[in-house]
Symmetry: C2
């Protein structure tokens, strides 16, 4: 007799079939002669109700110990259910308790997300965190499917790196030195000589530069890997370790880059609306009332595209009083991005052609010499969800820009080589995976959309 997953059982509704189910007890309700046991095996949100008569179980001695969190194996026959809210139930024939759960920390009541973070190893057993995990998995697969179906190659760019793509400087150091016996360091360069890699190494902040090398060989590529920031930001929007998706396309300009970003986001949302409806409904019921409206807004509306310069003009025209006064050349703050997406347009907006002074060295300088071919996708309620650009493919311009920023060109010779040998126009973007999971679930704190969050002061489990 085959063991079935509850997701299949509920889909197939094979009344009369004899099956085996294994899972964990969500709730037990007892009457004089029978127990009603809701079990869940994680394959979907919905539980299967098991009806166990006392004299039909093999484990009579333990049935009284059965409680939330216990694990079970039940053999029985599927029957049409007279109960409200379910089509079928399982009439138990044998019931074996695999593991008890005395003093189980997860009770039927709703626990706060703060409490659940303290038991991150148990929280996927709750409805909400289990649903996050299933959605995260579906979203991750949709990322791969989107790119693979379009002929993109998945590239594993390195995690340990000796560069700092964004120039932000807030990187973690990776070392194999025994820090308990590090010599008091008058000459640290020589300390690195003795380290594993023979130089200072750190955790990557982006795979873009390496992805460019592969785009210059294979055409269209993408990365999907962990990235890191040693930024001391204890907020609901920051993680020290998060996952990022970075496509990079040869023979691609900024408009085509935006086209692909828009198709990509819509594909992800549409896939979840098709495949994860039950889990999404949980979030629409308990976390974010307008979730489906928001998802359909992204799925159905063509993103508004306007230049940074036009956006500045729109914001100034609004006469709204912002905490940070609006002026050309400034980096847009969250309040400006939200005003554009939520008040002025009420839908996703793509801003392009930002001042070069507020963007990294690798972005292509426009003809005006003041702006670069950058693009940010801004979402209502979220702000920036995607950042991208056409890359500077002209060797002279790239080197000039690096010199302007006092960068060591000698450390980037390999990157300049990509312009030296058969350079082509190319572009790409980055999507923070956890931000996307937050968007599709409505979860407020980014720590609740990754299994084991790493934040200042916390790397447990």
């Amino acid at each position: 007799m085959q063991c079935h997953k509850i997701v299949q059982i509920l889909r197939q509704k094979a009344v009369g079939e004899k099956i085996v189910v294994q899972g964990w007890v969500k709730t037990v309700r007892r009457s004089k002669s029978v127990s009603f046991i809701d079990i869940n095996d994680g394959s979907c949100l919905t539980n299967l109700q098991v009806i166990a008569e006392q004299n039909q179980t093999t484990d009579e001695n333990h049935l009284k110990d059965l409680s939330t969190g216990c694990s079970l194996r039940v053999t029985g026959t599927l029957a049409a259910s007279p109960a409200k809210g379910q089509d079928i139930e399982l009439q138990a024939e044998t019931l074996e308790i695999l593991g008890l759960a005395p003093d189980y920390p997860l009770q039927k009541k709703r626990h706060s997300f703060e409490y659940l973070r303290e038991i991150a190893h148990l929280r996927p057993r709750t409805n909400s965190l289990g649903a996050v995990a299933r959605i995260r998995s579906a979203l991750s697969f949709a990322v791969h499917t989107f790119f693979q179906e379009r002929g993109f190659f998945h590239i594993h760019t390195p995690i340990i790196s000796t560069g700092d793509c964004e120039g932000a400087g807030e990187t973690f150091t990776v070392t194999a030195l025994d820090l308990e016996n590090i010599p008091s360091s008058t000459n640290l360069a020589s300390v690195w000589d003795d380290d594993f890699f023979g130089c200072q190494a750190n955790l990557t902040v982006s795979g873009q530069l390496e992805a460019e090398a592969y785009a210059m060989a294979l055409g269209n590529v993408y990365t999907f890997g962990p990235t890191f920031r040693a930024e001391n930001s204890n907020t609901s929007r920051h993680l020290a370790e998060f996952w990022m998706i970075e496509p990079e396309m040869a023979f691609c300009n900024l408009q085509e880059d935006i086209d692909i970003a828009e198709q990509f986001i819509k594909y992800l949302v549409d896939t979840l609306l098709k495949d994860c409806l039950e889990d999404l409904e949980l979030f629409a019921s308990f976390i974010e009332k307008d979730l489906f409206k928001r998802l359909k807004n992204v799925s159905e509306k063509t993103f508004i595209r306007l230049s940074y310069t036009e956006a500045i003009a729109e914001l100034q025209k609004s006469k709204k009083s912002f905490k940070f006064p609006v002026a050309w050349g400034m980096d847009l703050q969250s309040e400006h991005e939200r005003y554009l997406t939520e008040v002025i347009f009420g839908q996703p907006v793509v801003l392009t052609d930002y001042p070069k002074t507020i963007k990294p060295f690798y972005m292509r300088v426009n003809e005006d010499q003041k702006t670069v071919a950058a693009m940010d996708v801004l979402f209502p309620g979220i702000g920036e969800i995607i950042g991208g650009s056409q890359r500077e493919e002209r060797q002279d311009n790239l080197v000039a820009r690096m010199n302007e920023l006092n960068m060591q060109t000698s450390e980037y010779e390999w990157y300049i080589d990509l312009r030296r040998y058969g350079t082509v126009p190319h572009a790409g973007f980055g999507l923070g995976f956890e931000r996307m999971v937050q968007f599709v679930t409505g979860m407020k704190n980014i720590r609740d959309v990754i299994p084991f969050p790493r934040t200042p002061g916390s790397a447990s489990f």
Copy 2:
């Protein structure tokens, strides 16, 4: 006019169609009036031949500069080709040189893999490394497809960790401390207090323990992420950073674990034989003559299963003189694994039930109290490619085993919790992704199957 990828052009063979192609020059051959230009865009191994008459190009001034490595955009009409070895060619109407490539480091001749490692940013432009990258991408997607189609959920286990799953101790430290100004450390514990995570953190060596937590909630899960070893092994088989796939299944015993491992490997090989034939043929021609025979051996033969104890007896029976003499209790060496798979059986072998003294704490102790429910999949020519086990799900046994090994149980309370609350039999395994890429390509050095290898003394690019 749409821009086409060469892989589509060669597949569709739309003679008479007007198209645009963009790519890089592999070779140029000139006659008096025409140039024969082989271009490649990375979408597949095969080049498209472009026939350009001097007076039909827009860039007449540069056509003489055209050389290997240049980037081009060509508009033209597809024609049946009279040349041997190709069905179609492109009659150029306009030809635009996008980027020149003077002194290009990759010439038509074959370069050594050692040389190519020094220019890892350019090597995917070669036939062999380009093919490795395409196969790697297809293999990566096949991993996801296999598990997703079978209802497994993809879990992103943490990269930065405070545990050491294997107890090997050869981990990299992750720190945000300024190592130039670290106080001379009489009391290092207080140094960690000041570090980003408030304790010593390192790079993960395995996501298994965290995956177990998710299997205890969702049933079947898998990880696919980078793992790290600060092991000073300068060999063709070791990387400091490599990717690992680790499924973990609730309600699963050792035999079912082996079943899934075998199905998984066969699925990967079959997918590549179906989707990557052209690239595989390159490796069969130039790298490993018997490649297809080896792949079919894995695909078609049921893996032999025998216990470690039986394997020891087979080896002793063979009377072969090994460098490491065979005795029960020893860890098998490469010579023993190869003798079993290559000489005795001539096919993949799964060994089970190893002595507990040579295996980690989390493996389930068998009734004999001497062996554990472990399994290793051994491949001819490769050795161990998968290692797995049924996990110790009994709380008392787990704690006893940890005590035997002098482990700090207090650091593993969360892991013990998985046995405390609704424990179930469960099992899983790990596949080193690069070992698998080596197996399917025949590439001898593991540094040539990952884009930017990290090894002792080397973290460039």
